[in-house]
Structure formats: structure tokens, C-alpha cells
Amino acid sequence: MLLDVRELTDGQLLECDLAIVGAGAAGIGMALRFAGSGLSVVVLEAGGQVYDQETQKLYTGVESGTLIKPDSFYLAASRTRYFGGSTNHWNGWCRPMDPEAFLPRSWVNPDGWPIGRKDLDPYYERAAGLAEISPFNYKERWLDQPNKRFLFAPTAEFQTTFFHLSPPTRFGPRYRDDLARAANLRVILDANVTQIETDADARGVTALEVKSLAGRGVRVRARAYVLAAGGIENARLLLASNRVQREGLGNSRDLVGRYFMDHPVIRAGFLVATSPQRSVDRYTAFTIGQREHKARGVLRPSWEVQQREQLPNSLVVLDPVAPANLPELAREVAGLSLDLTRLEIGEDAIARRRVEFMGVRVVAEPIPDPESRVTLTDELDALGMPRLHLHWSLSDGDARNLRTVARLLARELGWRLRGRMSLMVSEAEPWPRAGWSNHHAGTTRMHADPGRGVVDADLKVHGIDNLWVAGGSVFPAAGVSNPTLTILALALRLADQLEESLRS
């Protein structure tokens, strides 16, 4: 059932088994899991079915950091506050986290995740269905053809790995009818949660306070509550729910909001591949399987390289160079000759694919930093909720990672005679042509120890009996894969656990 708060009576109390705050990938993924389960579920979506400027404005706040400037509009522009959440603007790149992302790594996240990749593998399979990608074949058959179509052999320092590309699935429109048909589900739009109410000692959630921009308010009471409002908003809700626990719900250790992460990305330069017939095809989108599903190859430094160089993970994305730029690049490369001396360089050669130019982007796993954080400001939004201050700092280690990976790739291309690379990175300019990925993570990090994390390995908020968190905010380390598939996998795992718990 799909409802709008305006269809409810002001002050009405809704009761259910499970209340899910947010109808993005995690919220909708969980709700679909409960469809037809017999358990009553309420999903509270802050926005409507389409983008609305007034609703989106509720996201604005103060922002600062290494890359983010006061006029970056990061808080408002990097997420979407309506049915489907950030799947309304994602590009559909899906890839499980690499196994080592879960491991303790002294140079990134000394404690690791409290769960491992194997815990998520069954859920990745199911998540792939929701994202409408091919079931992930973890041993891609293409990788069994070493040195055939890839830039490097599997033993090289850079390995080819794949993203599967979702259409991209817009979860709101795509699953609206499925949700509406399920008699045990109520998806309520324009329903902004403004307060998580608790008992006197903040050990249990008693209800959710919900408001619409039109002024109508309802309350939702459930046996279990899940925050699935996004990597930033989950923390905001906990911090703002401070009527009993003054520092914010679940925040007795001052961890809520800290360790904010996104994936920094730089334009690292461009490469000239000397053997294009066996190299670049797989690094642009190509079709796999019988359902016309798409995939795309990327490069990443091997785990051995990451350990040797003490580097966080990273990915190298190769982009076709815009045709308008080709003649200029061709002239430059022709002039330089390098190891391309005997290749014909020029527009004819490019057309015949004797040589291929590719733009090089490096995307990096950020090093978790407690000083990267969201905090409440004194300014209130139209619903009376404190606006946020987001500060995202990147360290010298983050800059070194990006620079080192670009240089390692340039060297590897050269000495393996695969091509050459023009670099746009240097120590003098630590963040050249840098940007971000809109992958919010880390603000309610997962850790078995309540002193070091906000939620436990089962995503339950430490110290609160009936409150869980889903979404990228629980990542203790962000890995380097785009997060949606992992967010879905974690949400489905949580749904399984909650169903068992609610039935018992």
C-alpha cells in the first residue's frame, strides 16, 4: 500500500512490527523482503514520488573540507530526497567489496570489519537481482583468458576486475507496484522522521515522530526500527534525537557522525595503449550473458601491491577520450614517440584502432578519519530539525595513495610495453582535478566493541534494544567499490535476521 501523510489523520498513531525509515535502496530492498511475510511493515519516505525542491532543501547545511568548499552544495546535491532515494541519480555501477576490505589493515582500518566477505556473499547474489544485474560470477570466465583481452596478465601488479552495470534501476518507480500490492506493507510518502522517541533510559525506542512539510504529524510505533535514511541522514536522526540522551541517541561514546567517508576521485592523466586490440575493449561497457546485461572492466592494484606499498584500495577507470580531443593528443604522442615510434599515430590510425587513447581516473578508498564528521548546527530547517555541518577531510595518506597508484600504473604500462601514460598528478599539487563520488559512508560505523562503533556486527545500535541501522553509514571502511550492492546485501542480511527475531 502506498500512502501519503496527508491521507492520514493529524496525530494518528500507526502500529506495526517493523518501521523502516527511508525508501532508498536499503529501505526498499528490506521492504520487498518482507512483502507477503505476514509481518506488518511501515516504510517512511521523506519525499514524494518525484523530486520536489522544498523537500530537497531540507538537506542543505554547512560544509567544509579538503575538497568540499562552502559553495559545493555537497549536502544538497549529492543525494536525493524522494521515493527511491539516491537510486534516483545513481549510475548503476555494481561490484561487491573486495575480500581484503573487510580485513584489519594497519594503514587503513586496523580493526577491520566485524564480518567478512563470506558473510555477505549469499546476499550479494540476492542483491544482484534487485539491482537487475547478472548474478555475480565471482570467478569471471573472462579472467580465465589471461593476456587475451586485458591490459595486463593476472600476475601483474594491476589486475582487471569488473563492475556489472545496472540499467540503472530506479528503485522507486521500479518497485512501486510491488510495494503497493503487498497487503502487509505501508509505504508512506512525505513522511519526515524528526525524532526517535525512547524510554526514560534510552534503552529502547518507543515511537517515531513523523512530520510532513504541510504541517501534518503522525507517530509510528513498532517492535523494531531500522534507520535506512542514507549515509548522512542516519547520523543526523540519531544526533537530533536527543531529548533523553543529550548527546544524541546511541552516541554515549561520541562516535555518531564521525568517520564520514566518500570516494575521492582524480583525473590522473591519459594513457596510450600500444596493443589496443587486446586491451581496451573490456574497459568500456560491453554486453554479457543472454539478457543484454552490461559490464565494464577496471584496473586495481593487487592485494600484494596494496600491502607492499601500504596503500588503501583503489580503482583505475579508463574512459574513452572525447573525439574532439583526439587530434591534439595524437599530435602530442606522435611528437613524443616514446615506445610508440613505429605505430602510425593520427586520426586514420585511431580510426583503425592502431592506437587507443584513454582518460585515466583513479578512485580511492578513503582512510577513515574521526575528524571527518557530521555535527548538528544551531540552525533549524523547515521541520524544526537542526541542519548539519559536514566536514570531510582527506589526509596526506589519501593524496599519496592516488598519486602512487597513478605512478605505479604509468610505470607498469611502460615496462610491460603496454603503453605510456601522461600524468596530471604531482606532489606539488596534491589534489589535482579531484572530485567525489557521492558515496556517503561511515557515520554510524560497525564495530563489535561499543567503544569503537555505533552498531554491532548485526547492525543493531549498541545499547538500544530495538534499533538497527542499514546503509553505507555502517561501513567501518569504505572499500573502493561503489556502495549500493553492499548496502543492499547488508540490508537483506538484516532483513533475514529481523524476520527471524520478529517471528520469535
Binding site: L336, L338, T341, R342, A410, W415, R420, L423
Partner: protein, 172 residues
């Protein structure tokens, strides 16, 4: 074009520059080196000498200590077992007419080791090529003109700048 007297030092430098540029080509070219092919390749290289010269000038600006034909030549050959400061016969064993003939090298001109002629011995090109690959692998690199180059590559470019790109196209 003004003719410049080809001193021994200049001859060595030009040989190195040509061999170095040749070494930048695919490794597979060296074993099948022959006069005709070399002439064709060198003509291609010469077309690009001006661009290399630009890279070389940038390198020399960054490393002024090497801004001299002697310094850069010694730097290039030091690890290759060549001794340009010795008498010619001892200094460049692979660049004698006989050796050049065996190697199938030498263009333009009839032989090597005679003023006015330029030799590109296969061994030198191969040695330089191997060194370039090794430097890229072990990070003996410099960033010039945005390109990540092996130090030897950059020095070859510097040589081209120092001897003048026109030297690579000059007909004896």
C-alpha cells in the same frame, strides 16, 4: 642547415641519441635490425626529433647539472660499459665499422666510426632499451612534459636538445 663539425664527442652523442630513440621502439624490432629498416625508422624518429628536443629542454631546465654534452653523454653510457673518454677503438667496440657491419647497423652513411657518419649498433639500442625497461620497473623515473619517463629516456631527449634536432636529419 648549418653544418656542424662532427667531433668525437658529438659523434658519440648523436649515436647515443639515435640509438636511444631507436631503443624506445618495441623490443621486437632490435633483433631484425637492418639497414633499410633502420633508415626508415630513423627517418620517422627524425620527424619527431623536434618534439623530443622540447622534452629534453624541459628535462635540462629541471636538472641543470646535466646541461652539457659531456655530462649527459657520460651519464648515459656510464652503466653500459662504454668509455667515451678513451681512444676511439677502445671506447666504442661495438661501433667500429666491422662491428657495425656485423650488427647490420649504420645509417645514414656507409659505416661507423668515421666523422660524418652515424652508427646505431644493435647492441647499444638493445642495452638502452633494457635499461629503460628496468628503470621503469624500479622507479628510476622523472616526470617531464607530464610524461612519466625513465631517466635514460629523458636523458636521450636531453641529448637531442643539446646536439640539436637538426643533427638527426643532417645528411653528411
Amino acid at each position: 642547415m648549418t653544418e656542424t663539425p662532427l667531433t668525437r664527442r658529438r659523434f658519440v652523442a648523436t649515436s647515443l641519441a639515435l640509438a636511444g630513440l631507436a631503443a624506445l621502439g618495441p623490443v621486437g624490432c632490435a633483433p631484425s635490425w637492418d639497414r633499410r629498416r633502420a633508415a626508415r625508422d630513423l627517418a620517422g624518429i627524425a620527424d619527431q626529433a623536434e618534439a623530443w628536443s622540447e622534452v629534453g629542454r624541459e628535462y635540462l631546465a629541471a636538472y641543470p647539472d646535466e646541461k652539457g654534452l659531456g655530462a649527459i653523454t657520460v651519464a648515459l653510457v656510464a652503466d653500459l660499459g662504454w668509455k667515451p673518454w678513451l681512444p676511439e677503438a677502445e671506447a666504442f667496440p661495438a661501433a667500429t665499422s666491422e662491428a657495425a657491419g656485423e650488427e647490420g647497423a649504420g645509417t645514414p652513411g656507409e659505416g661507423a666510426g668515421t666523422p660524418g657518419e652515424v652508427a646505431v649498433p644493435r647492441t647499444l639500442a638493445r642495452q638502452l632499451h633494457d635499461r629503460i625497461v628496468d628503470e621503469l620497473r624500479t622507479d628510476v623515473t622523472v616526470q617531464v612534459h607530464d610524461w612519466l619517463l625513465s631517466r635514460t629516456e629523458a636523458r636521450v631527449a636531453a641529448l637531442v636538445a643539446l646536439i640539436g634536432p637538426e643533427s638527426l636529419t643532417a645528411t653528411p
